[in-house]
Symmetry: C2
Subunit: 148 residues, 2 copies
DNA sequence: TTAAGTGCAAATATTTTGCTGTCAC
DNA sequence: GTGACAGCAAAATATTTGCACTTAA
């Protein structure tokens, strides 16, 4: 029997609590969507899903909460090569950065984790004496099925 | 004594000619700006500079030409970590991809070329059987001066 | 209690599109 | 001559903001 949602705040809400960031009903709904989303939501999708939990959630609250999450370093903002317009996509920042590949033909999004990527970031930090906060590698091209 | 501009078409215009893409007065102005730009123009800056060469250039022609240049693989589109709003920046695609680093404090944009980046792309192509057309690595953080 | 957060509506910012007239080839 | 391209204005898309009301702590 799963615990009720209120007893499973999730990491995002826990982070807010630790930092003394106020947790409102609307933020709780938005965080819950971000926690449980499989992947890559844009602001409109996030709004729609959050409204199912709390119908009062407004579009501007979604944007304000996204800004907050970005500033806290809790989410990453992606373009996915602008395959579908200029909107942004958001996902929880996970333990390890990953590369996003977008197929220019079928639109499929793939992810890839690589030690070489970590090496590359290390090189940038050392050679450029640059302290990396956030990094984004997006690749456009053709996936295995589409380039056959 | 420099040659008149009409005898120095530049690579972008040459590419258009080779592919039989029509070269209009307006496109010539826009290409010339892209050729000679030091770095990273957004659409409005590009429009402003192109108008100095040909005052008739319209904003929509700039966007249409940018789309054409992107599709021809002649320019790269960047966000520069959205340090200044949601607009895009454009630069001529050079021989070799480079990484863009944006300082979150002073706004400085740095570039970095790395063999490791080439290795990483090779790994993606091989391990994911993904044919890369365009790639973009943007990093946000603090530059040497700002993280002292 | 009260500072922070919210909804709502309107404003901004950026990019795209429909249409009619023009020009490169 | 004609199909591709242009300017113009209006629309579309995405995001932000001002303000008065509400709420978490």
């Amino acid at each position: 029997m799963p615990l009720p949602q209120t007893e499973m705040p999730g990491r995002l809400q826990a982070h807010f609590a630790e930092r003394g960031i106020r947790i409102t009903q609307q933020r709780r709904a938005i965080l819950q969507v971000m926690e449980t989303a499989s992947k890559h939501l844009d602001a409109s999708q996030l709004l729609r899903k959050a409204k199912k939990i709390d119908a009062s959630v407004d579009r501007s609250t979604v944007y304000r909460t996204l800004r907050l999450l970005k500033r806290q370093g809790l989410i990453d903002e992606l373009d996915l090569m602008h395959l579908n317009g200029e909107k942004h996509y958001y996902e929880r920042k996970l333990n390890r950065d990953h590369i996003h590949m977008a197929c220019l033909r079928c639109g499929k999004i793939m992810e890839f984790v690589s030690d070489v990527f970590e090496t590359l970031k290390g090189e940038v930090e050392k050679d450029c004496r640059f302290h990396i906060v956030v990094s984004r590698l997006e690749i456009g091209g053709y996936c295995a099925s589409c380039s056959k």
